[in-house]
Amino acid sequence: MTDKYMQFLDVPRKDPDKLPVEVRIKEFREIYAPYTADAAGQQAGRCLSCGNPFCEWKCPVHNYIPNWLALVNEGKLFEAAELSHQTNSLPEMCGRICPQDRLCEGACTLNDGIGAVSIGSIEKYITDEAFKQGWKPDMSNVVRTNKRVAVVGAGPAGLACADVLVRNGVMPVVFDRYSKIGGLLTFGIPPFKLEKDVVEKRREIMEGMGVEFRLNVDVGRDITFERLTEEFDAVFLGMGTYTFVKGGFAGEDLPGVHEALPYLISNINRELGIDDASNPFIDMRDKRVVVLGGGDTGMDCNRTAIRQGAASVTCTYRRDEDNMPGSRRDYKNSKEEGVTFLFNRQPVEIVGSDRVQGVKLVETRLGRPGPRGRRVPEVVPGTEETIEADAVIIAFGFLPSPPDWFVRQQIALHASGRVRVSAAPTTRFQTTNPKVFAGGDMVRGSDLVVTAVFEGREAAQGILRSLGLRATG
């Protein structure tokens, strides 16, 4: 029997088993096996239970991490699931796709040479396993009100908002233009990071809680926004950011140059067997692929192309390895799966006559910090080189894509196109139209799933207050 206070020294961090590279690059399944109950308990027991839980503070939704780790360690799975859902509407997804190395696990006290607690994998284990054993969120204390709220967008912000609303007795009706819920959770994030059954399970759970989904409905086209504001007591907008950032260099319009998101969506459509004429399948089989950009989307494109059987995948990023924003875990997995990384490279032109033949790059070095504090890459003169390519995927990030009817609805925007919302504690996330609230990427600019979840939940609190209801979490 080991000393429970010293378990972190006796038991090393052990991540769940990962599929071998040869297997995983042939399919789109998730690559991490689930923890067994024993492994989860043992790994959870490594938590020091710091009186100042840095993990909890770093977590955008402030999950009660040490507390549910303790419950897992004690084998109290359902209690852990209940607690986990008190702060997070989609814990099984966050457990899979959060960049834990930058958030909770990065902040873990044990991350200094001892090995952080594998918080993400345990978080995933809690909800997956609880669902498997038949657990459902406890709705027995919910008192139904006659209030109804329309939620536009079934992405993480919308789902989180609907979750908090329905737990407070408000009836949410979630509209989405796609045929499945999840937004980018379904159509952006590749299945090898988040299998779509997981999203389907969440839909089943949420419908069981009383959330109504109206899919294949594009607000503004299939139904007017005016009708939503008339029919519902409040409206929440969680519509994301979909305008892709352009490089602004020659050759971007050449055939064989693709935007990241349509590429990823087309692949998922194919995996899910969805027929979507607006996102025709883009196949990278036997192609030499160059992915421009080192963010999370870039990593997803890298690994999707590998799985499609690309001849080679090269990823370029204009700063150095340490500054690359993409999750460390995805970067490591990309490398394992055969992606070549070129750091300190900036594309200046996509070369080709009638279709892509290569990408012209210059070398960069890090200069002085820019206005946002990050060091700006400077071009090193005379370092141009061209690498051959049959296809180029541009993954430079996303900008807001506000629909034109916002103006009519008195929903004001920042100059950048982000929706302007209230920061006052009593009217959190209220737009300039008092009946309309907004959250997620369309408010903060493109960011993590967990930050969208947080804003959706906070906006739900604002909505509840505006409806004269007392929020209970």
Binding site: Y5, M6, L9, L48, G51, N52, T109, L110
Partner: protein, 542 residues
């Protein structure tokens, strides 16, 4: 104190005693004011305010009877340094429940202490330190301005050495290796270097210098107590605006009159221990030669810690019990001051005819202390207190016989001394872990709380001891001649010794009718100890 200031203020206003009484609208008489001036009486707060109004002076802060009063007492007890510890900070050492909700801000305690010490003309004798969440140079400057000359830091330098404020210090598993005895954690995960703490303090000092330059002061000493350099902000919330912080910045009406910081090199005790030194001179030959001898002195209650000087010399030369075989017998007459026979060493026998104050035989290691009433005293010895509270505190050995009763908490933390008294106050034998205590009379309540070792005999004439002892850790048994012969013999032997040493009238009476009284004694022992083992263990310990 108040008297002098009142007189000065009255002279300044040109009022007679009667004039002042009239000016106060007859609230108090002229005679009463005269008493205040002679410090024979204290004005109530209402009268004080009326006095201040009549004399056209501000009724300056009269510090609440709190930490300032305690500090003044400590300063009078010759402390060289007083630390006022605030509730902020807490070195991360404790769980949240211990950090929150305990204590008050150091600003309040420090201000009160500084003012009280100055008002009582004690500030120059004692250094004043404050701590509790001090982190920056600004904190140091504020503490100096409110009255501190020394500044304690805990958390911040620890953080500089790698502490992450995990609040698990009490679990020994500190992953930063700061608050743990675990070898692996200390050697592999502690990253601290002395330079880190040095660096931190250099920053604090630098910030202090910058702020001092802005204030126009050159040294910390120039700033101490200069609360006029602090200004009160209006407060951001309605609650904050209701706070009256003026008392923190008040100066007890003593601007410039009294030193603001410690100027004495040491807070020397008033008591030079003259009698103790005299005794040592008289006995030094007997100690050096290990010859023993008999000496006689008169004592008074201002003679504190009598015997300690001799015990120290014996212990230094021969060890704690080195002179047991050739004792020094010291006959004393009178009323002994505090801590009579403190740290008594083997071979020192103090025979006091009279009475003693608190702490008789505190920390006693060996030897014998005998107390008996004055030969011509008219009172009944066994009903009269012969020594004060907390006697035999933490004694580890030796014997004490007293023909009279002891005060509260007799033999608290006794771990080896033998004692016979004729009655005791509340909490007798508290936390006792060893030794034997015989009480030949009534005890107070809560006898034997936390009692885990040794044993006691208690004579229970009123048959109510069962209601007076603490049932948590001890049980009691009647001493009966059948099957407890050794206890009966031991008990009788103790009473005989007591009678021999003290001439106790009550002891003689008990022995004369021992058969009657024996059935009224209880043996008190820890629940965990077997009754048969008590005397065996006692012999083994001896």
């Amino acid at each position: 104190m108040i008297g002098h200031r009142l007189k000065v203020a009255r002279s300044a206003s040109g009022l007679s005693l009667r004039g002042l009484a009239d000016a106060m609208g007859g609230l108090v008489s002229a005679q009463a004011i005269g008493k205040y001036e002679r410090n024979e009486d204290m004005p109530s707060s209402g009268v004080l305010i009326a006095l201040a109004a009549a004399l056209h002076v501000t009724e300056e802060l009269v510090a609440e009877p709190g930490v300032g009063t305690v500090a003044a007492g400590v300063a009078k007890a010759y402390a060289d340094l007083i630390t006022i510890s605030g509730y902020d900070g807490g070195t991360g050492a404790s769980p949240l429940s211990s950090i929150k909700y305990a204590g008050t801000p150091w600003e309040l305690g420090l201000a009160e202490t500084h003012q009280t010490l100055r008002a009582n003309e004690l500030r120059h004798r004692v250094r004043l330190q404050t701590d509790g969440g001090l982190k920056t140079g600004l904190d140091v400057i504020k503490a100096a301005l409110i009255g501190a000359e020394s500044f304690g830091f805990g958390t911040a330098p620890m953080v500089a050495l790698g502490c992450k404020y995990l609040r698990i210090c009490h679990l020994n598993n500190c992953a930063t290796g700061v608050a743990t005895q675990h070898n692996v954690l200390r050697t592999k995960f502690f990253i601290g270097l002395p330079e880190m703490a040095m660096n931190y303090f250099k920053f604090v000092a630098q910030e202090c210098r910058e702020i001092m330059a802005a204030l126009g002061v050159r040294t910390i000493a120039e700033m101490i107590g200069h609360t006029e350099l602090l200004a009160i902000l209006p407060g951001e919330t309605p609650k904050q605006r209701k706070l009256d912080l003026k008392p923190v910045l008040a100066n007890a009406g003593l601007v410039g009159a009294q030193p603001q910081f410690c100027t004495d090199p040491r807070n020397e005790p008033f008591d030079k221990g003259v009698l103790g030194e005299q005794m040592l001179r008289d006995m030094s030959g007997a100690i050096a030669g290990k010859t023993g001898g008999e000496f006689s002195y008169a004592v008074s209650n201002f003679h504190r810690s009598i015997g300690a000087r001799i015990s120290g010399e014996i212990a230094k030369r021969w060890g704690n019990n080195g002179m047991s075989a050739s004792p020094l017998v010291v006959n004393l007459k009178g009323s002994a001051g505090q801590s009579f026979g403190v740290w008594n060493a083997g071979g020192l026998h103090l025979h006091l005819e009279g009475e003693a104050n608190d702490y008789v035989g505190k920390g006693m290691a060996g030897g014998r202390i005998i107390l008996k009433p004055h030969a011509r005293s008219a009172f009944v010895a066994r009903e009269t207190i012969i020594m004060g509270n907390t006697c035999l505190y933490g004694a580890t050995g030796g014997e004490l016989y007293a023909a009279g009763t002891a005060g509260e908490r007799f033999a608290v933390r006794n771990s080896g001394a033998l004692a016979v008294v004729e009655g005791a106050g509340d909490h007798c034998c508290e936390y006792m872990t060893g030794g034997v205590v015989l009480v030949l009379g009534r005890t107070g309540v809560n006898f034997g709380a936390g009692f885990t070792g040794g044993f006691a005999y208690v004579l229970d004439m009123e048959r109510d001891f069962v209601d007076r002892y603490n049932h948590q850790l001890i049980d009691i048994h009647r001493v009966s001649p059948e099957g407890m012969g050794t206890h009966v013999q031991h008990l009788r032997g103790l009473i005989e010794q007591h009678t021999d040493f003290t001439g106790s009238v009550w002891g003689i009476q008990l022995l004369n009718d021992f058969r009657t009284y024996i059935g009224k004694f209880w043996v008190v022992k820890p629940k965990a100890a077997a009754i048969d083992s008590l005397l065996v263990n006692l012999r083994r310990a001896a």
